[in-house]
């Protein structure tokens, strides 16, 4: 009897997880190193160097998509740990790269490259990003005041920042 219950539970679990995957096929990366870590600084240097390596419209598309995803995941993690200042910064970076994805596609189109496949990737990335941003929006305060030990107070309008990010991905 116990075995049967376990088996049913496993089947229910598998069916349930499958339906969760069906929400969006687009897969975001795992969170990388976080601000404050030495590896984060190294990754920042790598990011700058990689910009030169990614010449060309499609290469820029890949580069921008990679960093838009990376910073979104970073922002999500930081929001979960209530590191709101850093999280808003990361979200800003994700927005910057997300904007670049679209401009790289426009450049590719201008250069007579077929962008239909890349446009599909762009759309699924936008959908996934919106999905994550809505989760963040529901789980974070609308505003937050950051009082550092040294320096002046920073008022964060988190809701406006997230809504702006969603708006950008709706374009």
């Amino acid at each position: 009897m116990k075995k049967l219950v376990t088996l049913i539970a496993v089947i229910v679990f598998l069916i349930h997880t499958q339906s969760a995957f069906a929400q969006s096929a687009y897969v975001l990366p795992y969170p990388s190193s976080m601000p404050g870590s030495i590896f984060y600084k190294i990754n920042t240097i790598r990011e700058k160097v990689a910009r030169f390596w990614h010449f060309g419209d499609f290469s820029t598309f890949k580069y921008s998509l990679f960093y838009a995803d990376k910073y979104l995941v970073e922002a999500k993690t930081l929001f979960e740990y209530k590191q709101y200042l850093l999280a808003v910064n990361a979200l800003g970076k994700s927005d910057f790269y997300f904007k670049n994805i679209y401009s790289s596609l426009l450049d590719a189109k201008k250069n007579n490259k077929d962008i239909s496949e890349k446009l599909e990737i762009y759309k699924s990335a936008a959908d996934k990003h919106k999905e994550i941003l809505e989760i963040i929006l529901n789980n974070t305060p609308n505003t937050f005041s950051w009082n550092p030990e040294k320096g002046s107070r920073v008022d964060l309008n988190i809701k406006a920042a997230i809504e702006n990010s969603i708006k950008q991905r709706n374009r």
């Binding site: 390596w53 990614h54 010449f55 060309g56 419209d57 499609f58 290469s59 890949k62 250069n111 490259k113 077929d114 239909s116 496949e117 890349k118």
Partner: protein, 378 residues
């Protein structure tokens, strides 16, 4: 006898040129008017013809070598044979045995036409590009080093991408130039025409260079020149050429320990034994040749990595026999796929068996000969 051998030799080369056009891919629309479909419908006949031509090519090549070493053919005749062989095979259809030349062209197009980084963007990403209809590794980023990609800029920028056939032959010219430069460096390194002949007319080398247009000769020229300059104590130029060679196809990275060894001898002001250097280089390149089977499989054109060194050591009969038998066996590796049209099933094991058959056969013949001589003449 001499004339018959040379006639038979050119008979094989010309028929090989004609045979290559039976391999035209139906999707290779540039040569649609030459497409016969014989290779796809009559695999047995085409494969038999290939085996016959490769065998006669090897046999007549070895006869020419024998006649030259016995001073029955003049150097001038050899020069003409080399030139004519290269010219005839240059005209052949390039994707008879391998599709790599299409990869070179596609990588060049990604870099110099689409202006994309070929190490990030794959040819398959350019939807509707005509190249995708016939190339076989469109889903791979660039497989070769940056030096090779820069070299492909020469035909790409001169010819452009609108005439694909001209571009393919332009790429063949590039590898052809390196082939002739290798002959020069072999002569300079040995001051002997035999290694030059052995290399220049070896069927594997000429087919892989002038039919398939493989870039291995470019890598080998640079490394041979690097070793030559090292023996002349031109360290910086030698290091630069070694680096360029490594950044063509990476295999020559295995020669770095030998270069370090030569440098050590130079610093210690000890005499450099060229034969020893060639022997170590031969062993190193043979090692990477066999190790390549762990990455994918042993491709016939990888033999170009060790063959120049084995021909420089031609006085060592074991090395020469091994190299010639292996190069013949490697050309037979194409047979199972040619016959069956599949890379699966019996093909992988048959490839290995065919590769080693000539060498084992020669070993048995020599063994029996030794036993026979011992029993009846001693």
């Amino acid at each position: 006898m001499k004339k018959i051998i040379i006639s038979f030799y050119f008979f094989s080369v010309i028929l090989l040129l004609l045979l290559s056009y039976l391999f035209i891919d139906p999707n290779f629309f540039y040569l649609k008017s030459f497409y016969t479909g014989i290779y796809f419908n009559q695999r047995e006949i085409v494969t038999t013809a290939y085996v016959f031509l490769i065998s006669s090519f090897f046999v007549t090549y070895l006869y020419i070598y024998k006649m030259f070493s016995e001073k029955r053919i003049r150097k001038e005749v050899i020069k003409r044979i080399i030139f004519l062989t290269c010219l005839i095979l240059f005209l052949s259809y390039p994707a008879m045995l391998s599709f790599d030349i299409f990869n070179y062209a596609a990588t060049a197009k990604t870099t110099f036409f689409y202006m994309e980084n070929p190490y990030i963007v794959m040819p398959i990403e350019f939807i509707n590009d005509t190249v995708l209809q016939f190339m076989h590794s469109a889903n791979k980023t660039a497989l070769y080093g940056p030096v090779w990609i820069i070299l492909t800029a020469v035909p790409s920028l001169i010819i452009g991408f609108s005439n694909f056939i001209a571009l393919i032959f332009g790429l063949k010219i590039i590898v052809g130039v390196f082939y002739f430069l290798t002959l020069v460096i072999l002569w300079k390194s040995s001051r002997d025409w035999i290694p030059v002949l052995l290399y220049a007319l070896n069927p594997l080398i000429v087919i892989e260079t002038f039919v398939s247009g493989h870039n291995d000769v470019a890598m080998m020229f640079l490394v041979l020149y690097s070793l030559y300059l090292l023996s002349k104590r031109k360290f910086y130029w030698s290091a630069l050429l070694l680096l360029l060679s490594i950044f063509i196809k990476f295999a020559t990275i295995f020669l770095i320990p030998i270069v370090v060894y030569i440098l050590f001898l130079q610093i210690k002001k000890q005499k450099i034994n060229n034969e020893k250097i060639f022997y170590y280089s031969f062993l190193s390149m043979l090692a990477i040749f066999f190790l390549s089977s762990f990455r994918e499989e042993i491709y016939p054109w990888y033999a170009i990595w060790f063959l120049p060194f084995s021909f420089l050591l031609y006085k060592h009969k074991v090395i020469l026999i091994f190299s010639q038998a292996l190069s013949f066996g490697l050309m037979l590796r194409y047979v199972p796929f040619m016959l069956t049209g599949t890379y699966f099933g019996q093909t992988p094991i048959l490839k290995i068996i065919l590769m080693w058959t000539p060498f084992i056969f020669i070993l048995l013949v020599l063994g029996f000969r030794k036993i026979w001589l011992k029993n009846f003449y001693l």
